[in-house]
Amino acid sequence: MASSDSATAMQVALSTERDALKATGGVMDGAIATNVKPSTPRRPAGESPADVRPERLRSADPDAFGVPTGREEEWRFTPLARVKPLFDAVPGAAAGLDARIEGEQDGVSFGPVADGDPLLDGLPLPADLLSARAASAPGSTTALRIDKAAELTEAVVVNLTATGDAVLFGHLVIEVGEQARATVVLDHTGDARYVGKTSVLLGDGASLDLVSVQSWGETAVHSEHLAFQVGRDARLRSTQVTLGGSLVRVLETVDFTGPGGDVELRGVSFADDGQHLEHRLLVDHSVPKCRSRVTYKSALQGDQAHTVWIGDVLIRAAAEGTDTYELNRNLLLTPEARADSVPNLEIETGEIAGAGHASATGRFDDEQLFYLQARGIPADVARRMVVRGFFAEVVESIGVPALEERLMATIETELERAFS
């Protein structure tokens, strides 16, 4: 198996690409072929490896960030021509997505937040120009608040939608009070050009399952910074499901404010012809005894289908007892598709419970196909069973049955197109 597992590397960067797979002919292993070629990221000659480390500037001030040129580590995988309209736009007043909450529950409030509201102080800071603009645009903020100690029995579903060429900026704050338990679903539909920041505050001992679904139409362009701030002994499970859109680029950052935090970041994406689906993560272990688990899976099919997964995990000197592991799996259903995968682990203390990562990108496993066909199952049905199985681990543990069914049905539809 050509995946990499690392417990001690101070800094490891791997890149897996279709080209690497082609060069070696692909090695089959389990669910998918695996082929991770350790390689240095593309960077100008003369830079030392230390320079590969992302800058990680965080600021509320848009002017602190430059407009990217495409040479930056953070932007080198993104087709800038397609996101350029987002950079060219000037945030207008109160022009976000149409955001509506389904139903009503005790302990839940939802509505606009006035500029200057104290809630806006102490939020996790934006990590790039777009998210800084989204968070600072006047009247852009909507808040979903879950009261202290509330135990919600139903998922809170927020429908976010818009269609049109105008670039929209929006800022959603999700505040989960101390000891509260909640499941929140953010459901993005329509064909928008949208720049979002979602700031998620988990109070001490809070528990949140957050599912964000990107079911955009074919022309949507969406940039998002999903910024989590995790309190002492809080538990977070975030699931990103990215199926639609022309270009979707989601940055997830996790900051811990106290020990005992337990975070799972999971994601599935399915890229078709011409789709660029990018997920970047930065888990910043700055306090002791927190746990993080990352599981991201993507399937790709068709010409110019492209997924990017960047998994940065930082264990700072103070973060003793950290336990972290990240996993990325990419399944190339057609040879023209391309998956980039860069796990990156930086460890500044040796006093940790565990740290590792694994990444594998490969083609469809012909041995699985043979096994299923040898039981009479036609090739197209067999392929669908395998891909469905590939995603099932993440999708079928979302915990919102109606949503799980809808997502698996959407994946089935994409597969019909793939194998028809």
């Binding site: 090739a379 069973m385 199985g389």
Partner: protein, 272 residues
């Protein structure tokens, strides 16, 4: 009565850029109700015969024919062969993560029978078949072959054999890696299928051990890609006593003669 006829079968496999001839003219006829044991040393091509019949893309048929009741098996895709009634119990069943055993079995039964079995009857049928093979009902919710022990994988293969009721069943070293209990359970499963009289069994094995549980009607000695000698069950006893030496191969036909255990595949007994 179903009949599988293999005539002058030559098969090659591509290795290191060159075609290597593995089967060099196999002739064999298997009828429903008969049990044929193919015995031979490692590397003689036994498994190649099994996979060539099932249609694995790795193997190229260079000449010869395989027909089932006169139909050209070699012209069929892998799944068409299975639907025509050919079943291969694999030596190393493949893991399919995320696909549950119950989903897999029902999909296979639907394909083989041509219509989805009625759910209530199917649940009962599957449960009873599993209980006969001493399998825990919780098994059906696990992913296909994922994390299964060697014995569990083989029971799962025989479970499929019993549920799919093929015309011809090829069992590729089903006995390898099994302890005595598992061997007994698996053999009983095969014997139940034999007693039905509707299935011809081709039992591929390296050792005579499984033949204590499954009595073959015919024994064929497989050497260098073809059948070197055929006979009745007594031929197995002769191999038990003398090994393959008379065929110019220095290897034993019984375990326990200081054969090393492979370091790569635990529980699988191999010869050097």
């Amino acid at each position: 009565m179903a009949t599988l006829e293999i005539r002058d079968l030559h098969v090659s496999v591509e290795a290191d850029g060159t075609d290597k001839q593995i089967l060099t003219g196999v002739d064999l006829t298997i009828r429903a109700g008969e049990t044929h044991a193919i015995m031979g040393p490692n590397g003689s091509g036994k498994s190649t015969l099994a996979y060539a019949i099932a249609g694995h893309p790795k193997y190229t048929i260079t000449s010869g024919t395989v027909t089932l009741d006169g139909e050209d098996v070699l012209a069929m895709s892998v799944d068409e062969r299975a639907r025509a009634g050919v079943f291969l119990a694999m030596q190393y069943p493949v893991e399919v993560p995320g696909v549950s055993v119950s989903n897999f079995l029902r999909s296979a039964a639907t394909a083989i029978r041509g219509e989805a079995p009625k759910l209530r009857l199917w649940v009962k049928e599957q449960k009873e078949a599993m209980s006969r093979l001493e399998m825990d009902p919780a098994f059906s919710e696990r992913s296909v072959n994922e994390g299964f022990s060697g014995g569990e994988k083989k029971r799962h293969e025989i479970l499929q054999l019993e549920l799919l009721k093929p015309k011809i069943a090829v069992l590729d070293e089903t006995d390898s890696g099994l302890d005595v209990d598992a061997l007994r359970v698996v053999s009983e499963g095969v014997n139940r299928v034999r007693e039905g009289g509707e299935t011809g069994v081709l039992l591929i094995t390296h050792y005579t051990r499984i033949l204590n549980y499954i009595k073959p009607d015919f024994v064929h000695v497989f050497v260098r890609g073809r059948i070197a000698e055929s006979g009745g069950a007594e031929l197995a006893d002769e191999l038990e006593a003398n090994g393959y030496a008379k065929y110019g191969v220095e290897t034993a036909a019984t375990p326990g003669r200081s054969l090393p255990t492979s370091p790569v595949l635990p529980g699988v007994v191999t010869t050097a």
